[in-house]
Amino acid sequence: MEKLKRVGFLINPVAGMGGAVGLKGTDGLAEEAVRRGAVPVASRRAETTLAELSDVDALFLTASGDMGEKALRRAGLEFRVVSEASEKSSAEDTREACRSFIEEAVDLVVFCGGDGTARDVSHVIGSRMPIIGIPAGVKMHSGVFAISPKAAGDLIRRCLEGDLNTRETEIVDVDEEKYRAGALDTKIYGIATTPYLPALVQERKQIYSASSEEEFKEEIAIFASEFMRDGSAYILGAGTTTAKIAEVLGVEKTLLGVDVMRNGQMICRDASERDLLGIIDEVGEIKIIVSPIGAQGFVLGRGSQQISPEVLRKAGPENLIIVATPHKLKETHRLLVDTGDCDLDETISGRRQVICGYRIAQLKEVSASSNF
């Protein structure tokens, strides 16, 4: 008989509380949020997801109390507590629960929270097992989040039934201190594996010559490896698609940083803005390859801040090459730029060609995020 699937499940009970009371996030501020009258939302959202799973044949492993135990009991699902949470749950409780999930060799980790929780989960889990996020935070920029708690239920069910592919995605978070001060500074904190529901499952054969998202990353990378032979220096932004390009060229790229390649060689790893400006002065011919980061579709201004307005202006905005899988393009209504320089954002905006396969591109709307 097939082994019973095991799901690691945890809730960050304070996630999302800061939003409604104007705190733009709850990291380190749960007590302040409660003082301002915030009510917990995460448990309720998690229960919406669990309600979708009443007839699923799986064992849930969870943390005690508000971190999962209570919600699973109310949902009437089969579970076992494998981690004791402290009374006021903290990031450390999340990480501790995740360590237990690894020990228990779960098939899938499901958490309910926001970007902060996603960071804590992925910090421990990494790419060991797929992660699904039930959206309950103030900000959810990471690619592991389902579009709604109900959709998360559907994803979990299909994942357990084994009919989903997984993909690599970025864990992104905003620096809340800076965010509260009015500055949006997003960083990539890690890479996680997540199952995804190809919105295109029924038409995949009609539209694509390859099916899985990873195959498309490979196609894009092979095409890039061909056009990158022109002698220019190529700045590769952060993310898994650009990392694939380096992989196809036989070099290892820093996943979270910006690297520079020329004639198939890595000439600068984890470059700073100053490094990039120096290379532009030295090489002259420079092109920039970026791909959308996380769930919102940012191609510039999130995750790769080293590619600054000055770098873009010196390289020439026409030398910006955007790459993205058709799956990502289908999910994202438009791509966004926020370089911090409005005029530059406007220059880059409009319908642009986005490379989405081997010698294949789509036209996609690129907009300045300040317009929204």
């Binding site: 038409e203 995949r204 054969k205 009609q206 539209i207 694509y208 010559s209 390859a210 099916s211 899985s212 195959e215 095409f223 061909e226 056009f227 032979r229 022109d230 090459i321 058709p326 289908k330 060609q353 490379i355 396969g357 081997y358 010698r359 294949i360 591109a361 789509q362 036209l363």
Partner: protein, 427 residues
């Protein structure tokens, strides 16, 4: 005019010896392929069969004109009245005939959208030949009833890439879920023919003898236009490998070159696979596995698998050398369109003229409508002819996808490809 560059033997790089082709083609068709005769007679037996649906009707699109409120006169010559639903039987019947005459018992071929496979299935059944059709998987899945109709006509239709050939197995090993391409399907069919003694290969497009057979369209068009005392200012036709469009307009080429008639002939192709508008003019293979002779043509590279747009019949990396030669010399023009705008035009056409066009054919309707609308400003009573190569009765899932907003407009990144076209062999 620039003389046509001859096909080359891929092994030697030298001009192909007609004998090289005898392994897969009957001698009479090879003779036609190499011929420079102005006229080659249609055998009576072929002519009798063509009579089943020829001459095809030339319609004046009165209702479309009225809908557009244009002073232009729009005509369309409709090849969808053939039993297989497109212009393809014009050459299928002739090819089946010459193969039977040569004692061949079985024919292997490929098909993109299924039009050619259907046509050849019908033609082989008329001449008691066996037939196997390798159908590009993307289309095979989209249009299951194409397979059914081929079976009715006694042919075997398999999805390509298949497990039946070395070429197919090699592709499947690397890309088990691939939607396939015309280039791959050609490789499979050529391999099938080369490895079976009683079997020849038949190609539904690209080659000069195919274009020759299709010129019956343009010859009829000329006579039909004369009956109504009119003459085209412009002919629009879709181009995949280039057979219907050259067939319609080649009979007008001497008018333009010798008699200095002011006629424009415009080849219409998808932006996702813009061979004539964005391709490189060079010798390239006709197929993915590099089995065919090298042909001088506009090409996107034999290793390019075009995105699976819904005009499956236009997904080919190259085009007929004769057509390419004329585009190169500026006698024929080329233009490309995104699939959403093409479907929009197709729907307008269906709602005014009644006929549901194949998505391929609709590529010629789109610019004809644009042209007619432009005439409203100029007041020009332009004579516009659309080569309506087939009906879309097997393409309804594509229309569904259009109405559901699920069609993606693909682009061909020409500049970046130019940087990377080092793969094409140089001769």
């Amino acid at each position: 005019m620039t003389p046509l560059d001859p096909p080359l033997n891929p092994q030697t790089g030298k001009v192909i010896d007609p004998k090289d082709l005898e392994m897969i083609f009957p001698r009479e068709l090879i003779k036609q392929e190499m011929s420079t005769e102005r006229w080659i007679d249609i055998p009576d037996e072929v002519r009798e069969i063509l009579k089943l649906w020829r001459p095809t009707p030339l319609f004046r699109a009165h209702r479309l004109e009225e809908h557009l409120k244009t002073p232009a006169k729009i005509y369309y010559k409709y090849e969808g009245v053939s039993p297989a639903g497109s212009h393809k039987p014009n050459t299928a019947v002739a090819q089946a005939y010459y193969n039977r005459e040569a004692g061949i018992e079985r024919i292997a071929t490929e098909t993109g959208a299924g039009q050619w496979g259907s046509a050849l299935s019908m033609a082989t059944s008329f001449f008691d030949l066996e037939c196997r059709v390798y159908m590009v998987r993307a289309s095979f899945d989209q249009k299951p009833y194409r397979k059914s109709i081929m079976q009715v006509w006694g042919a075997e239709c398999v999805a390509s890439p298949s497990e039946l050939t070395n070429a197919g197995r090699a592709i499947l090993k690397e890309h088990p879920d691939t939607g396939g391409s015309l280039g791959i399907a050609i490789s499979e069919a050529v391999e099938d023919a080369a490895t079976h003694d009683n079997t020849n290969y038949a190609l539904g497009s690209v080659l000069s003898h195919v274009l020759l057979h299709q010129t019956v369209e343009g010859q009829e068009l000329k006579k039909q236009m004369a009956i109504v005392d009119d003459y085209p200012d412009v002919i629009y036709g879709c181009v995949g490998g280039g057979s219907n469009f050259p067939g319609m307009c080649f009979p007008f080429v001497p008018d333009k070159l010798k008699d200095k008639k002011e006629i424009r002939m415009i080849a219409c192709e998808p932006t996702a696979c813009p061979t004539l508008t964005k391709g490189l003019y060079a010798y390239d293979f006709g197929d993915t596995a590099r089995l065919t002779p090298l042909l001088k043509m506009y090409t996107l590279g034999h290793d390019f698998i075009p995105p699976s747009i819904h005009a499956g019949g236009l997904r080919y990396h190259g085009d007929a050398p004769l057509l390419c030669n004329l585009v190169r010399d500026g006698v024929i023009e080329a233009i490309s369109f995104h699939q959403n705008e093409v479907f929009k035009a197709a729907v307008t056409f269906a709602r005014t003229e009644g006929i549901l066009p194949a998505p391929e054919s609709a590529h010629a309707i789109k610019p004809a409508i644009d042209d007619a609308v432009a005439c409203k400003k100029t007041g020009e009573e332009k004579t516009i002819v659309i080569s309506l190569s087939g009906h879309g009765h097997f393409d309804l899932s594509s229309y569904d996808a259009y109405f559901a907003g699920n069609l993606v407009d693909y682009e061909y990144p020409a500049e970046l490809v130019k940087q990377s076209l080092a793969k094409i062999p140089k001769f």
